[in-house]
Amino acid sequence: MASLAERRAGGSRLPEQTEILARPVPGERRMADAVRALAIDAVQAAQSGHPGMPLGMADAATALWTRFLKFDAADPRWPDRDRFVLSAGHGSLLLYALLHLTGHDGMEIDALQRFRRLHSPAAGHPEYGEHPAIEATTGPLGQGIGAAVGMALAERMLAARFGKSLVDHRTWVVASDGDLMEGISHEAASLAGHLRLDKLAVLYDDNGISVDGEISRVCSEDVLRRFAAYGWAVKQVDGHDPTAVAAALSSALRSRKPSLIACRTSLGCPAAGDSVGQGVRMGPAEVLRAKQALGWPHPPFTVPETLAERWRQAGSRAAGTRRAWLRRIARHPQRAEFERVTAGRLPESWHEAVAVLKSRIAETRPRLASRQSSHETLTALVPAMPELVGGSADLTSSTLTFVKGMGAVAPGSYGGRYVHYGIREHAMAGALNGMALHGGLIPYAGTFVAFSDYMRPALRLAAQMRLRVIYVLTHDSIGLGEDGSTHQPIEHLAGLRAIPGVHLFRPADALETAECWELAIRRADGPSLIVLSRQPLPALRSDCGENRCARGGYVLAEAEGPRQATLIATGSEVALAIAARERLAAEGIAAAVVSLPCWELFALQDEAYRMRVLGGVMRIGIEAACDFGWERWLGEGGCFIGMSGYGASAPCEELYRHFGLTAEAVALAVRRRMH
């Protein structure tokens, strides 16, 4: 241990690696060497990849996977398995080698041989969906920790609901220095410490090296004490000593706090230290030398049968535990409900409450801010859907995401359904991903649209992983008024629409809000963003039969007489379009109003429908945002009325006038184009 600590100042890692390699070789070391050899061979075959992490963390990961991690390779989706997240996604081979060795179908040796090639499940970074045992897509640093906190929280919440006999598992993370430097990991760790998520443990590859070189060049803080300040139990061990790692993992099992275990390792051990760091290729000579140093005489991609057998046994170590669990659930009174929520099936009558709400809205035609309409919809949904869990990043009373009776999750108490994430948008989005990945919950959470930028990296991953996550984004334009330009989204709608796989809903009134929520709940294969106003919006519809938002866009008000213009708007600007239509009608100009709450769904409709909605006449787009992307719907002769720069601080109505977002301006634009 001392030698590891001392070498930090010394530079060369050769002496310490020599020392490590000179230790007696127990069986565990040989098992870890199998991981190392596979990693070396795969990087060699791909001529690219990051060997450092898999080599350095092989011993620690072997201790975890052979003695602690609860999993059965025969069923990688067993709901009560421990979750393993490789937050340091660039070390993907560590995970692939472990999955291969423990006997997972779908990660045979040819997958490793085709590492980083098109259609191989062994992608450059672990990709969720490429293999059922890959729990999360990782690579962008810090995201794995964010997701793991969500998984650990989901476990606690589901255990509170279904009991320990069905839900009792841990979340393990392997992370790198980089993960811990990113802001998101700070937020996530602070949240996990606060909530006392004691079944979460992070093994951190404390190798003192980053891409740029010695970590001391960019970081001089004491990571362990920092995590202690978050309320974590912290330990430091020699990452190449399986006994020491196992002792630390055992104490994590007993801890009342989340655990951080710093595994001091020698990067790339035994690949001759100094040259093989992050993403550096090894030549054939280095490969040979490394294997010689290990005492590994076997041909590439070959693991001797006795060792392979020991690894396969590790892969079925928890098979008995799983069978016992299957026996328990078979006679569990909540079996059907548990299976329903873990399969992500909605309850039979979930939409009845919304149907009642919709007919009430159609009758009473309330004038409400759409954030309030969203609250009413949630009030209907929450009791009907016990798997629906909410939260907000310290904006509960502004985003109106809390519904009475939900109860808040608190340290040591997880029976509530609402999470106060604190001022931590990024960790919140990461946790939402983790909850959705874990299964059994449908998570939603709220913040302002302007702050969606803070969580964008996690949001992108939700889209990439096609997760059922719902973001409630309020205060969606200059309509928020006095808070001014920092809080007024301009480019956010375009920026979010650009992300493939995201459905962005911007409802125009209470009824559309209920419809959009329905669509978001129903959507099982990707994230939904519900974008809502702070200011009140008049009711525009009285029909509550068909969900008209389901087609993404529709004719809200047809022109009286042959259509001369189509006014296309979203959200708060639809009412403005309706007012403009009336003005134009008074002048004898027949204009239709199209509401376009969800571009992505509209784009999925057939060409004929879209043409019928958009019309072959002059098109005017109206949205209190920048015009980016609108040409698609407006065509070349079209005209856009919206924002061309940042907003200002003043009351809502004044701002709409100031920036020329008025019915008069719309009518004028139509008239100008007609002449």
């Binding site: 430097m181 904006l395 001022i423 006095e482 920092t486």
Partner: protein
């Protein structure tokens, strides 16, 4: 004068303005009034008569929602840019007292704040700029502090931790945070969501930490003195009561952003024994504040005298830096680079082109500061530059660590500070980690150059998490930001020239990882990229029938498609569009001629289509990405996703048939 009375002047101006506006956040201005009074009345080096004095201390209100605090401070200490009328019209159109403070150095507002965590990072960037200029110009000329008032929110944000960690690491000793520790957030008491040992977080990142009663201005005063003496960055934890002075709601959640009524402000007047009518400050208190505003006058005059005594060359250099002018002849190297590229005509890795250019420019521009969040090797924008370290603040390359967000916000702080030309480099996918700061750079109109490399599936095997597809669109959507995506070495030089000439806002320079073959030939004279888009290869053999529009690495694909079409007798032009925003500024005739209105138009970009319809029209074609990428060798990926000359050609041909 009793500091308490001076602080009460802030309290009443704030509550009167908030009551008048109908909304606002009284919690911070009332709770932190004593802290800021100690700072402004005893420590802050400033001159309200010359708000943008180069050697002033910088003050940042990081918890921007407490904006009335800074407006009251500036008004009381004599900044003419914030009038009583502005305060009366708090949160109204045309008032300089916006809901959140907006960048206006001539009025004493150093940066726009509101999105949490940004302000403290800006302050760290200012402290870094100060440290660098202090070495470059000497302590006689540059020697000031950066102070930030910070709330719990800023410290909960990930950005906050990145800054704490980096500022401590770099030993930015002139950075001082005043933490308004009021134990209250919007959702309720802090322990609803936070159990951090906050002082510990600072201490173990090598900060000097003190804990004081935030309502004892003398204690804050003493702490500030000690903070300035300590060589480490300092954090002063000031325990306060939120909304201090409003008897019904002080110390409660309601104080955070409560609406105030007459009854409450009357009660506060009785409670604090302040018998004066709304918006009226008694003369002795006013005088004390004006006096505080004049406190640094001797320093100011001494500084002016030192500057006047500088040798003429040094003074010119100082003036140049203050005014943000680049040194004469800075373009020479760029032009030489362009000429060499036109002669050599060889393919070169996209990001290496930028690295070569910066290596040259760094020599011509001594105030250029480069840096990256742990991607020096992959992006190479260090080369001969020495690192900026805890022990050597004269270095010009900042190793930000894996902290993109802190880098972005610190670049803003450096630009707002002035005197330096800040550049930050990372992968395009990680630009999302700093997106909140990009927006603020654009909003403030700061000159920051962001270099984003590894710009498409062209990065290959690292796979979809590292392959941008939606980023170009999302960046182009940000108002007042130039997004430049050069196609080869010549365009790279042109784009850098544009970026450094551009002073009204930030630029994002987007580079491929993979080699970019030369697409430009001919003369080196005009900066063709300066018009945003231009005809790179005109149609031959008749009137133009088709136009292929492309950016960056796809321009070469467009040229290959053109060659195929031309050889088949279809007169086809290729338009290179390195910068959409500049193209939009051209007149309609130029734009129409370039994009070939009336011809068949096909856009090519290894990214999503969003935004392209503007240029390709309703029946145009687009060859690009429709979803996320994949992990594989780059050439296989381009073939897999169909971004090839064949597909571009086919897109043109489909439409040719449709037209005939």
């Amino acid at each position: 004068m009793d500091l308490r009375l001076m602080a009460d002047a802030i309290r009443f101006l704030s509550m009167d303005a908030i009551k008048h506006a109908g909304e606002g956040h009284p919690g911070t201005p009332l709770g932190a009034a004593d802290i800021c009074t100690a700072l402004f009345a005893r420590h802050l080096k400033c001159n309200p008569q010359d708000p943008s004095w180069f050697d002033r201390d910088r003050f940042v209100l990081s918890n921007g929602h407490g904006s009335m605090l800074i407006y009251a401070l500036l008004h009381l200490s004599g900044y003419e840019g914030i009038t009583l009328e502005d305060i009366r019209r708090f949160r109204q159109l045309g008032s300089h007292c916006e809901g959140h403070p907006e960048y206006h150095p001539d009025r004493g507002i150093e940066v726009t704040t509101g999105p949490l965590g940004q302000g403290i990072a800006n302050a760290a960037g200012m402290a870094l700029a100060e440290a660098f200029l202090n070495r470059m110009l000497g302590a006689d000329i540059v020697d000031h502090h950066a102070y930030a008032l910070v709330g719990d929110g800023c410290l909960q944000e990930g950005l906050g931790q990145e800054v704490i960690s980096l500022a401590g690491h770099l030993r930015l000793g002139k950075l001082v945070f005043l933490w308004d520790d009021n134990r209250m957030t919007d959702d309720g008491p802090i322990d609803l969501a936070l159990s951090d040992d906050m002082p510990a977080r600072f201490r173990l990142s090598n900060w000097h930490v003190q804990e004081v009663d935030g309502h004892d201005a003398d204690a804050v005063d003493t702490a500030l003195r000690l903070a300035r003496e300590d060589p480490r960055p300092s954090m002063i934890a000031c325990r306060t009561i939120i909304g201090r002075g409003l008897p019904q709601i002080e110390g409660t959640r309601a104080a955070h952003s409560a609406r105030l009524d007459r009854e409450q402000t009357d009660a506060a007047r009785a409670y604090l024994n302040w018998p004066h009518p709304p918006f009226e400050i008694p003369e002795p208190v006013c005088a004390a504040w004006r006096e505080a505003g004049r406190r640094s006058l001797p320093d100011y005059q001494a500084w002016q005298a030192r500057v006047a005594a500088l040798p003429v060359e040094k003074r010119r250099e100082l003036d140049r830096l203050r005014e943000g002018r680049l040194p004469e002849g800075w373009r020479d190297a760029l032009h030489a680079f362009k000429r060499r590229a036109l002669e050599a005509r060889k393919a070169e890795y996209g990001i290496k082109l930028s690295a070569d250019i910066i290596d040259m420019l760094a020599e011509a521009i001594p105030e250029l500061l480069s840096g990256a969040p742990d991607l020096e090797g992959a992006t190479q924008h260090k080369r001969r530059l020495a690192p900026f370290t805890a022990t050597d603040h004269s270095g010009r390359y900042v190793h930000y660590g894996i902290r993109e967000h802190a880098m972005g916000a610190m670049l803003n702080g450096m630009a707002a500070h002035g005197g330096v030309v800040p550049i930050g480099v990372t992968y395009l996918v990680f630009s999302d980690y700093m997106r909140p700061t990009l927006r603020l750079t654009a909003m403030m109109g700061l000159r920051v150059s962001f270099v984003f490399s590894h710009d498409s599936i062209g990065i290959g095997r690292n796979g979809p998490t590292h392959q941008p597809v939606e980023y170009l669109a999302a960046l182009r959507a940000i108002p007042n930001m130039l997004v430049l995506r050069p196609a080869d070495a010549v365009e790279a030089a042109e784009c850098w020239e544009i970026a450094l000439e551009h002073r009204a806002g930030p630029c994002s320079l987007i580079f491929a990882r993979q080699p970019l073959p030369p697409v430009r030939s001919g003369n080196a004279g005009e900066n063709l990229s300066g018009r945003g888009a231009y005809v790179l290869a005109e149609a031959e053999g008749g009137a133009r029938r088709a136009t292929i529009l492309a950016t960056g690495s796809e321009v070469a694909i467009a040229l290959q498609a053109r060659a195929r079409l031309q050889s088949d007798g279809v007169p086809t032009a290729v338009v290179s569009m390195p910068c959409w925003e500049l193209f939009e500024q051209q007149d309609g005739a130029y734009r129409g001629a370039v994009i070939g209105e009336g011809t068949i138009r096909v856009g090519v970009e290894a990214a999503v289509r969003l935004g392209w319809d503007r240029y390709i029209g309703g029946d145009g074609g687009f060859v690009g990405m429709t979803g996320f990428g994949a992990s594989g060798p780059e050439d296989e990926l381009f073939a897999h996703f169909g971004i090839t000359p064949e597909r571009v050609e086919a897109a043109v041909r489909e439409r040719l048939q449709g037209n005939t």
